[in-house]
Amino acid sequence: MKKTLYAVLAAVLIAALCLTVSCSKEKKQELVIYTWEAMFPDEVLEDFTKETGIDVVYSTFDTNETMLEKLSKADGGTYDLVIGDDYIIDAAIKRGLAQKLDKSKISDFGNINPLFQSHYYDPNNEYTVPYGAGIPVIVYDPEKVDWKITGYNDLWDPRLKDSVSITANYRVINGITLLSMGKSLNENDVDVIKQAGEKLLALAPNIRLIQDDDAHLALLNGEASVAFLYTSQVTTVLQSNPNLKVVFPSEGLGIGIMDFFIPSKAPNSEAAHKFLEYFLRPEVSAKCFDYLGYYCTTKAADSLVNPDLVVPEFFDGEIIQNVSLEADEQYNKNWIEFKSACD
């Protein structure tokens, strides 16, 4: 009895082995994409496979830091295409974990919106293709504000007394104050930062609340008439109240960008290039950004994508970077002084 059982088991095993061997003999091409969960609509990945015959293997991480660690353990191999945030890509490129793109294989490279290119982590656009941007903007309720808000400086207007809701990131709020003064978001000069602190104090009477999680709800429940919000919050409030007005501040934007890059020893960099070429087609990009809900970084897709996700032309953008310790300390001090002045 036992013998027959073993025989059957052995037969099954052998059959299974044969199957796997025959499968691998077919030698299907693979593209390993490594990013957060839910970054692409299924349709986009399926269409790519249909078109090229290349299977997409979707591998995920929780945080940028995990990605960098894994990539560096794999010595720039294993993965063919990675999407991460600006600052971590800076680290990846510096550690030699990314390879230069072969632009001859990406004919639509010009479709990218230049606002999201040439930033500090890739000044000559040799390594990255942007995949969506987060941009904090001003949103206001035209029923309560009967004049036109165009930039950060309008937040200081006395007519907005006790009615502005802002996010709680000290660098972002210091940053927009600097932008309103015509300075850089990443100012390192302590004296200039001090001046920004003084200007920030003058904003205090207009502040209704300072919060990261709920800053946007204040616009809906009537607590505030103007808010300075992150992209995901803007999307949320517009869904509840499409009449709200979104303002891209004229003084310049603070942006966070997600980018594709190809790891230095990607097993199939050929397929990765093909995917980038495919993604940069306007209709594919539009599908991706509609799904993702971040600002569209492919200029050629602007006319196809949800209009709420299009950044109007002629804007400057800057990314928040680490500053010197002294500067950072002054930013912190500005922030506490500002918050204390608000009550």
Binding site: R171, Q211, G222, K333, I336, E337, K339
Partner: protein, 289 residues
Amino acid sequence: MIRKKRNPYSLALIPLYVMTVFLIIGPLLYMLLLSFATNLGSGAFSWKLTLENYRKIGDPVYLDTFWKSIKLAFLSTVLITLIGYPFGYWMSRLSKKGKQIMLLLIMIPFGVNSLIRLYGIIILLQSKGILNGVLIGLHLIKEPLKMLYSYPAVLVGMVYALLPFMVLSIYSSAEKVDWTLVEAARDLGATKTRAFATIVLPLTAPGVFSGVVLSFVPTMGLFFIADILGGNKIVLVGSLIQDQMTRGGNWPFSAAIAVILTIITSVLLLSYSHISRLVGQSGEGSGLI
């Protein structure tokens, strides 16, 4: 035949010692050490020892935060005592069944996460909220009042969150009062007020003191109340520590603030035990320390 007496429970105490060392003394020492480390920014630090973090607390901005926290703690403790004393006193005079029901009613909200209860207060106070709706409905106001995200809103939140501790400690000491003493005083011609002032008040004093400690100390650290109901505009020591720990990325500095806060709290607790020893000879309040 004298045998050395050994506490038969001494082995059972080992987990307690282990926990105290690893979970209380260990972290406290680490915090103390960390407060002398050198900040490198973004959460990084080096073990080069310095007094810089303590010097920074001397900056008026940060001193002001301490001062404001103490003021808020003082104000909310006064309010909590004023509301909590009559409440606890009244509870102790109820029938046995009445006491059980009241205790149950006080404990039930603890089953709900405190954040959710705070969001409940938001629903009450917000512009389009219930309270404004009622006031407008009664034609008392025309425009909704801006009640949320203000100092009074934080005060309401603090009183709401900490009142049960005061009520319960007053209740527990008022319950032990020997009421025959009050009757005797009344028989001997004391007025109600006199009997209360000379007998009930001194006997319940330990309860008041423990209630005061239980509400004063947490107020300094309950940063999420200031965050949610105060819209982050009222900066407490607790919010400062949290801010420096997370967004500010300055761990040594937040450790230094935490050390100072711990010292203030310890001084309060020590003076409490001192006072309660002086006042409450019955030692009822000493259960706290």
